[in-house]
């Protein structure tokens, strides 16, 4: 069950969430009693090796799939989500793609366009509204996807502004080169702070998690369950290549390796 949260102390809450694929004895347990929460305005990174069910978990929170057991609650009716691929509609212009975020709530065409332009400005793509997605680079497309997700999380049907919108991100920068990724980290951090977003960010890149998160939640693999939570108290803005980030990342990587080794022979 995905329900709507009423109290103001959590943006996302998972309580003993399990997910089984298939039925009966040969069902595959993907997630095993995962509990975690994201406070309003908090940036939480979910970290794990492959097969830890981190993408499954985000799908559940986004309502794309239903948990077998346990309860998921979020602020607002519909949370925004970004995928590893930009997932833009190729038949629409960049601006129209962002405008899709306001479709479900029935804004007028003029309003949709004006608001879409605001969000494109926010990701520094103000002049690109009339282009088609395929005319942009990978990093730019992912920023359009970010603008669309932000637009959606700002729209009234999702949640009101003071609640702080929820943004789910499924390895959104995984396919980008290091330099573009660095710049997008800065972008995301700025927008997250300006807008008071609550972010649940999935990655397998430990440094990325430490660079961005207030908290890093480490998941084990097959089935996925929470191993440990690491609060990240480094001052912002951080740099992915700084010594502090590297040190903490090394510590978390060691813990991750221990987890992975349990699966070897």
């Amino acid at each position: 069950m995905t329900t709507q949260l009423v109290d103001r102390t959590t943006a996302v809450r998972l309580e003993a969430v399990s997910k089984v694929y298939g039925h009966g004895g040969n069902g595959l347990l993907a997630l095993d009693k995962v509990s975690l929460s994201v406070r309003p305005g908090e940036f939480v990174c979910l970290l794990g090796a492959s097969g830890c069910g981190k993408s499954t978990l985000l799908s559940l929170v986004a309502g794309l799939d239903k948990p077998t057991q346990g309860e998921i609650s979020t602020v607002g009716r519909q949370v925004a989500m970004m995928f590893q691929e930009p997932a833009l509609f190729p038949w629409l212009t960049v601006s129209a793609n962002v405008e899709m975020a306001f479709r479900a709530e029935g804004l007028s065409k003029q309003d949709r366009r004006t608001r879409a332009a605001e969000f494109l400005d926010l990701v520094h793509l103000g002049g690109f509204g009339k282009k088609r997605p395929h005319e942009l680079s990978g990093g730019m497309r992912q920023r359009v996807a970010l603008a669309r997700a932000l637009a959606q999380s700002s729209s009234s049907s999702a949640s009101s502004a003071e609640e702080g919108a929820v943004l789910l991100m499924d390895e959104p920068f995984g396919a980008l080169d290091a330099m573009t990724r660095d710049l997008l980290h800065d972008e995301l951090e700025r927008i997250w702070r300006e807008r008071g977003l609550s972010v649940l960010f999935v990655t397998h890149n430990v440094r990325e998690a430490v660079r961005l998160g207030d908290k890093v939640v480490l998941l084990s693999s097959r089935p996925g369950s929470v191993v440990e939570e690491f609060p990240i108290e480094l001052a912002r803005p951080r740099r992915t290549d700084s010594a502090e980030v590297a040190e903490l990342a090394a510590k978390i990587t060691d813990r991750l390796k221990e987890e992975v080794m349990r699966h070897g022979h």
Binding site: A87, H134, E135, S137, G138, G139, T180
Partner: protein, 284 residues
């Protein structure tokens, strides 16, 4: 200050990553497409003349290109020729338009409803492979030697391809776009309207093109079989030319039928490549 530098870094990276858009001028693009066609036509004409010169058939049975085009030239000045073309084209357009309507409704219903799919999916594909001329005896029985009989068969010939194009397009909607649509809050009909239908456009267009080819074939078969008095059409002219042993007239009409088919196919081709360019499917 820091924000400003940051924005400039991003702008710089964007500029570097966008390659310049280079397309050749219109004249050279048209020429690149036209010269192979002209060469092919020339080769066909030469081969045709050689066959005629070989003397296998007398000239009054198998006319050569020169006689044929002279005859065609005369007919181009005759209003009756244009009436025949107009009748045929009117039938083609009405029949095809009705087929699109039927194909859309059937395709949409079958792609949406599981039971309908199980019941009619195989049947639609089966109908597609059925030669449309096989429908004519039945159509003539139902409607007599009327235009309705022709329209009926044209629809039956074209609609299955159109429906199948739509069904395939719906089936092959990228799952990622479906997920994105779902996350954006679209459900059921809205998801259909904003995501699934636009995503199936390329496949639907391919279905339309194939449907047109079937419609055109069915129409020609129909016009040969169902000859309506006082209504000149291309098919009727073929039949009359055969009866009068008018070889140049017969071959000339065939050329007209071929050219109309090619021109319409080129229109579909143009629509398809415009769509591909817009979507960035394969940059031309």
């Amino acid at each position: 200050m820091a924000v400003d530098t940051h924005a400039r870094q991003i702008a710089g990276l964007d500029a570097l990553e966008l390659a310049g858009d280079q397309r050749a001028g219109i004249a050279s693009r048209v020429w690149a497409r036209v010269w192979p066609m002209l060469t092919a036509i020339a080769l066909v004409l030469v081969a045709w003349q050689l066959v005629v010169l070989s003397g296998r058939w007398p000239e009054y049975v198998f006319a050569g290109p020169i006689t044929t085009f002279q005859d065609l030239g005369h007919r181009l000045g005759d209003p009756e020729f244009y009436q025949a073309v107009a009748t045929t084209m009117r039938r083609a357009v009405t029949g095809f338009a009705l087929a699109v309507l039927v194909g859309l409704v059937v395709g949409a219903a079958v792609s949406r409803v599981k039971v309908l799919r199980a019941a009619f999916g195989a049947l639609i594909t089966g109908l597609q492979t059925m030669p449309s001329i096989a429908w004519f005896p039945f159509a003539i029985l139902l409607f007599g030697l009327t235009e309705s009989a022709i329209t009926f068969v044209v629809i039956l010939g074209a609609a299955p391809s159109i429906a199948n194009g739509l069904i395939t397009g719906v089936d092959y909607t990228p799952p990622l776009l479906l997920r994105a649509g779902h996350v954006l809050g679209f459900r059921r009909l809205q998801l259909y309207r904003h995501v699934i239908l636009p995503a199936s456009l390329p496949s639907f267009l391919a279905g339309l093109k194939q449907g047109w080819a079937f419609a055109w074939r069915s129409l020609m078969a129909g016009e040969l079989l169902v000859i309506i008095a006082y209504q000149s059409s291309l098919g009727e002219q073929l039949a009359i030319s055969r009866e009068l042993s008018d070889s140049p007239g017969l071959i000339g009409t065939m050329i007209v039928i071929l050219v109309i088919g090619i021109v319409i196919d080129m229109l579909f081709e143009a629509a398809d490549s415009a769509l591909r360019r817009r979507w960035g499917l394969n940059p031309v």
